[in-house]
Amino acid sequence: MLQAEGLAVQRGGRQVLSGIDLELRPGELLGVLGPNGAGKSSLLAALSGELRPAEGQVRLDGRPLADWRGPERARRLAVLPQSPALEFAFRVEEVVGFGRLPHASGRRRDAEIVARALAAADATHLRGRSYLTLSGGERQRVHLARVLAQLWPGGAQQVLLLDEPTSMLDPLHQHSILQAVRAFAGHGTAVLAILHDLNLAARYCDRLLLLAGGRVQALGSPEEVLLPGPLKAVFGLEVLVQRHPERGHPLIVAR
């Protein structure tokens, strides 16, 4: 499982993360919240091995991330970036099929997995379309299908890191995509997602990490983290926290 110990990261001589201790748990969806520039994307980059920490270490299964061989790591750890720039006219199923590149599971099995991943990301109807003709939200769903295909069917050994997976989605798809991610985590995959919408985070995440100034401000269940005090301290926003009338999770309303 993915663990960070005493993680500190510098970018261009600036300290963007310090003293981060974090463990992703199998089957759990961990939401990362924080204002712009809090270090959320740097955290994700450090956890994925993209950024080398100045201090501390990230371990996958107890082994430092840098010691993993590329394809071996890619079969265990997938990352959905914020805005992938693809300028070539691949068809949707080809893009999703790239998720199978680290595997040698055979063309038929890959095609089956691509179909399932597309269905999970509610993108089956996009099959056959050129990627360049898709809208921003459709592209986001295609890339989600790609990272799901990379880890398919998911399991307790695997880690999925999502950088704002719902940023370009309409309200219905924000919910359906997070439901799909939850269902995927249900097979054992540990998922970390950077989110901006506090209420989406409250509804779908098992644990929340509140990040500000490169440090952990709070880490715990939505009920423990989504309180007026910490939210005011981190976002500078006055909020009321109520209970969702049907589901019971915290419901955050700006004052």
Binding site: E50, G70, R73, L86, E87, F88, A89, V95, L101, Q150
Partner: protein
């Protein structure tokens, strides 16, 4: 949508047949037209099959000494330029990238100018045609040196930044252009004429001696690049994305630059500057078969070779018995086609 996406075999077979046709015509046509059958029989005689017939000895001489090395040169130059175009477009993740971007063409041109003009300045008595081997070697070395510089300038903190590399390539190409201009200014008329023709590209200097280094480079590129088709696909998503898919992106970029420098360097050293092939062929093929490198690479290789052979046929037939420089033909064919592509749909 691309016509051949679902029928890759049909496209590859069609392109192979096209290449065979281009190769055959390249053996048969020229200032002295051989009957099509004779050109094949001459090839068989060259291979050691004891055939005899009217005019076959002359045909064997023409094919063996002139047209076969020329056709092989065209085949190698065309396929290497097209493959390198695909490689550079993947490296820069831009369908408009050209092998020249990393400085290999301008470096080779500088090396050639140095050999042509420097040679004639140092040894005014020698005929300017004296040293094709020195010219090729100098062009090849020039391409490698400038590319190495561009690559070095693009590196920072153990990472190669392709945007920096692109700008460094532009700057060094401008610098090389200035140096070539200076050589042109210093050159006598014979050297200047030779420099001009070299810059327009031609297969007319084909000989087996010039062919082998290029054939080796072409073979290396043609064998290595398709093995990286999956990695090239992933690279189009972005460097981080390719890393997350398990590819060693820094090594891949280094290999792509090296492969292009060797391939294009050898092609330019053997045939001078032949424009537009590396840009156009991958483009055209993407329209036909989509951007998947597993199909695009072999298809571009076949199509690049065919295009170059047909262009060379035009170059030797249009003004026969005189010859047009090859670069003029590829630009005349390529530029309007490219404009048509630009107008047809946003890239």
């Amino acid at each position: 949508m691309s016509a051949f996406v679902r029928r890759p075999r049909v496209l590859l077979i069609a392109l192979s047949l096209l290449l065979l046709l281009a190769f055959w015509l390249s053996l048969a046509l020229g200032p002295l037209r051989l009957p099509l059958v004779d050109s094949l029989l001459a090839l068989l005689r060259l291979a050691g099959v004891p055939l005899s017939g009217a005019g076959l000895e002359q045909a064997e001489l023409i094919v063996g000494q002139i047209r076969l090395p020329r056709a092989l040169l065209g085949l190698a130059v065309g396929s290497v330029l097209a493959l390198s175009g695909v490689a550079m477009q993947a490296l820069f993740r831009n369908p408009l990238a050209d092998p020249g971007l990393i400085g290999v063409s301008s470096g080779a041109a500088l090396g050639a100018a140095l050999a042509i003009v420097g040679g004639s300045l140092l040894d005014a008595g020698a005929p300017p045609e004296a040293s094709p081997t020195l010219l090729s070697a100098s062009a090849f070395a020039g391409g490698l040196v400038v590319t190495a510089l561009v690559y070095r300038l693009g590196r920072r903190d153990g990472q190669t930044r392709v945007a920096t590399m692109l700008l460094a390539g532009l700057a060094l190409s401008a610098l090389a252009g200035a140096a070539i201009g200076l050589f042109g200014y210093l050159a006598d008329d014979a050297a200047l004429r030779r420099l001009t023709f070299w810059n327009l590209g031609s297969l007319s200097g084909a000989s087996y001696a010039r062919l082998w280094p290029l054939l080796l480079a072409a073979l290396g590129v043609a064998l290595w690049l398709p093995r990286r088709a999956g990695a090239l696909n992933a690279l189009l998503l972005g460097e981080s994305e390719a890393r997350h898919l398990g590819f060693e992106v820094e090594r891949l970029k280094r290999e792509l630059v090296l492969c292009t420098a060797l391939g294009v360097g050898a092609a330019v050293a053997a045939a001078g500057l032949v424009g537009f092939v590396g840009l156009l062929v991958p483009h055209l093929l993407r329209l036909l078969c989509g951007p998947d490198h597993r199909l695009l690479l072999p298809a571009a290789m076949l199509a690049g070779a065919s295009l170059l052979l047909f262009a060379d046929l035009l170059a030797r037939l249009l003004l026969a018995p005189a010859e047009l420089p090859l670069g003029i033909v590829t630009a005349l064919l390529g530029a309007p086609f490219f404009l048509w592509l630009l107008r047809r749909e946003p890239l």
